[in-house]
Symmetry: C2
Subunit: 624 residues, 2 copies
Amino acid sequence: MKTYTVNFLPDNLSVEVEEATLIAEAAQQAGVFIKNLCGGEGVCGQCRVQVTSGIAEAEEHAKAFFSDEEIEKGYILACQTEIHDDLEITIPPESRMEESQIMTGGATEAYGDSEAMPVVRKLFIELTPPTLEDNIADMERISRELRKQLGWHSFEIHLNCLQHLSDNLRENEWKVTATVVKDRNGYRILKIDPLDTTAHNYGVAIDVGTTTVVAQLVDINSWEVVGVEGTHNMQASYGEDVISRMIYACGKGGLHPLHEAVVKNINQLIEKLAGDNSIPLEEINVIVATGNTTMGHFLLGLTPCSIRLDPYVPTADVYPPILAKDIGIHIHPNGVLETIPNVASYVGGDIVAGVMSCGMADNPEVKGLIDIGTNGEIAIGNNEWLVCCSASAGPAFEGGGTRCGMRATKGAIEKVEITNGEVKYQTIGNAKPRGICGSGLIDCIYELVRNGIIGADGKFHRNRDDARLGVEDNIAHYTIAHAHETESGETIVITESDIDNLIKSKGAVFAAIKSLVDYIGLTFDQIDNFYVAGGFGSYLNISKAVAIGLLPDIPREKIQFIGNSSLTGARMCLLSEAALEKCMNISRSMTNIELSVYQPFMDEYIAALFLPHTDRKLFPSVEY
Amino acid sequence: MKTYTVNFLPDNLSVEVEEATLIAEAAQQAGVFIKNLCGGEGVCGQCRVQVTSGIAEAEEHAKAFFSDEEIEKGYILACQTEIHDDLEITIPPESRMEESQIMTGGATEAYGDSEAMPVVRKLFIELTPPTLEDNIADMERISRELRKQLGWHSFEIHLNCLQHLSDNLRENEWKVTATVVKDRNGYRILKIDPLDTTAHNYGVAIDVGTTTVVAQLVDINSWEVVGVEGTHNMQASYGEDVISRMIYACGKGGLHPLHEAVVKNINQLIEKLAGDNSIPLEEINVIVATGNTTMGHFLLGLTPCSIRLDPYVPTADVYPPILAKDIGIHIHPNGVLETIPNVASYVGGDIVAGVMSCGMADNPEVKGLIDIGTNGEIAIGNNEWLVCCSASAGPAFEGGGTRCGMRATKGAIEKVEITNGEVKYQTIGNAKPRGICGSGLIDCIYELVRNGIIGADGKFHRNRDDARLGVEDNIAHYTIAHAHETESGETIVITESDIDNLIKSKGAVFAAIKSLVDYIGLTFDQIDNFYVAGGFGSYLNISKAVAIGLLPDIPREKIQFIGNSSLTGARMCLLSEAALEKCMNISRSMTNIELSVYQPFMDEYIAALFLPHTDRKLFPSVEY
């Protein structure tokens, strides 16, 4: 039988399928998630995709879902269209399972351990009914049975669960399901359900980012991500960045509004995920949350005030496991919230989760993790040692602090190429451009310097004959998208001061990497792999990031972009108590180098304020 | 200097003191507790006592507290009267620290370990403030300091305590007091107070009896019992005995009213104790409660329904430690309630506490504990083995099931002597008689059989010429107090059917003791000590109890009446985590012999329905 190749964009994932396979099926095989509310009946219209190369004819009745213009552009329903050609299918953001480009997946999942024991698990137990010869108490009977399944541990139980135990056992003929959580020192029984309910056990992994809060609903039995939702962190109304929110919380505003905001965020995400997937909130038994130290403090309602001030002390690095309801999060009333521990005030649980998720601490190979956000956090190490540091990179890579910068959402220019004065760009969701996100800005800088439009100092060659080059209020700028192309009708430009900010940001990140590598007495080529994480959407051009001096100049195959490694780490902790335990160990054992008191860092920073660097020997492969 | 002997009644405790010692001081030396609200100033009038032998003149001004009749009877204020004679002082119930005759004290306290660590302790910690070189998180700083004081343990913390930690430390210049509770697997921080509050640390020991609930407020630093309060178990309105309350709880009435009743009891007792001693409820951090298995279930709101029915299974033998507030008990919001574990459905935490308190499990000597209530519970063993059993004794020894029976409170006849047809009795509080309590009934039976008024079968010799002997509706009875002597003006009698009931009760207790001793292959003389506990007030005539065949006929000095050993055990658990741990071990290791399926018990029971026994060889020293 004839086969065809189908490539899905923007993920750039390909799959070979037999003739007449439905596009929706091909997507599934390729590991691309398309919305599918009606289960493939062709009645919900949610699986709209665009055929951007090749020929595929939509079923006649499916055309009702599209305007003539859309049909012209190749829009079809993935669940109603068979494959009879090699195709390139672009999945518009609104059809993706993930919310548009908010980073929700990615990262190598380093368990591989099919024996992984989830933090909260369900166990079906069939008890032999008591007799006069064997009339131990109900709770002791449960413990005895659980010990057969889980080994010799102490078992505690919630009072409200114990209060119904007797009836529960007798009404269900001694067949019940126990939901148990691994506590620091043993197991705790969260609930006892009638009969066998082991098929339904859900948890939520949450990444509380400064800008974005993302939640994944996970089926703990199958490890499947049932759904993903992301939203803006509502705390933004109290300050754009972490520092201004801390100032708000420690001033008149107080901690409460910030705590409430993130709890509201999380409740909304969980309600949406549960509703969309018809899963009762009562069946969600556990949440693993991660975030930077300040976000962790806001989440649990801890004062973050001493984090901000010398000597930068958090209230806690290891957070107690709590009942989610104790901070007003609505899952099962005895459901647990674990928050991944920090290393220090500016190296949070997000980094710990990231380090764990990419398996850095698992074997002797030396690896590095670079998480680029408002803070650039770097961790390097192996199974024997781990060091980390954090440098303030500024908001440039997240779309802040530049004139036309924006976060990696729909309409953001994420890819730029300049050839002979021609600018080609690609936007997220193929929408009309609204601004430039971090990965687009990295491309811009690279393309500008490669084409000789700016110098190695980031300044424009103003005397150059280029229609895109302009000067306004003595600030030179370069047009990336003309006014008529953009959504707002305003020109999208990159200015000399934008470039200046970006060079400072990349300089801070690189200086942090370099300082840390020097501190531990290694050279770049002794590091086996660098993982790059951050909010760049699904696209980051590694070569260009190296070429502007953001990332070290080592063989490209040693550098991997892994997306949102914090969320991946949180999900792994849901699925494996060993992963959570590993996070505890990482948090305890990782050494934080305080760059603000590490003298060489400032010199490295100054040296890095150049494209790619003042010391070209550090970037031998860069050719512009 | 001249010395005098002072004997305090009803405790019958003597002390030798120097001339001119105050009676209040002598009482203290003798270990007798007299109320003393004004601190010995002679202005509150609470330390009223009666000089019943010897001469002691009250200070003139103190006479204002008494009527002429009372002065005539020898009433004085203990804090204002010096000793210049050998005295017998009777302490009226209203002047005792304990509520009238409700058993609140007693029992050998077997710790002796001055290093005992209380379950909840306070630790003053002075932290070195953080610096850039030492900027671990606040919680980790606290843990580090606590480890210096408590050794290497894991420390958890309540979220609501963690939420205020940062401010608390910084506002108090890093000098705080941590209140920590020993959990099953480590320590948990309940609260962090500013500066040094270690001087104030209180706990409450509670004995939840079927009839009476007694609470002791204990100063955990000094081990001092600050106050004692007892009250009737309000559950009585849902049934007089355990079985009828279970029937109520498992029928239409439901568990809730019974749970609420005991919680209300406890709150009232604690509020009174705290109020009387000007101790804020917030400074009470821990409660240790004990009771029989059903009372423990009612307290925690656990269904007791399967306890009542074959195969007699409780919901839990080991209760989880809970927050007292979770069942509505008002102490510190993070204050802990520990409930002493059971052995089985009819061998509760009260017995476990009793066994622990009398040190039975501490050394190789074989000892026995006999706790006489509606159930007679027997435990025998040493540091290597422990067996126990329980027999339904009926309510006779608690004053139920007999025509003129009553509990051991004011006006109860607790002591009876019959000589040549003359009856001498003593009532609790020297009040007009209102009825006969358990110890009085034991005396009655003994005196009746010794005087030949009844036979060894408990039947009256009806043809005897005795004005006190009567027959009504063919039931013979004997007058203990004439109508004109009693409070109600009704004659107080003991009837043949009362005696029948009492013989059944004593028979059940003795048969249980005998069965258990036989079961383990010992003879009575191989048992080094028997401790007798129960609600007999402060008086129990051991010799008479042996002579009627209630207790085994071994040398009297081997039998000790120890009062409320459950409460003593609970108090010991407040003061020593090792004592609580010992209770856990006793609950796990004690073997319960189910007498209802132990064939020889019924034979022993039948054989024991005689005074003292059908087999007189078992009671060689009994002479009537």
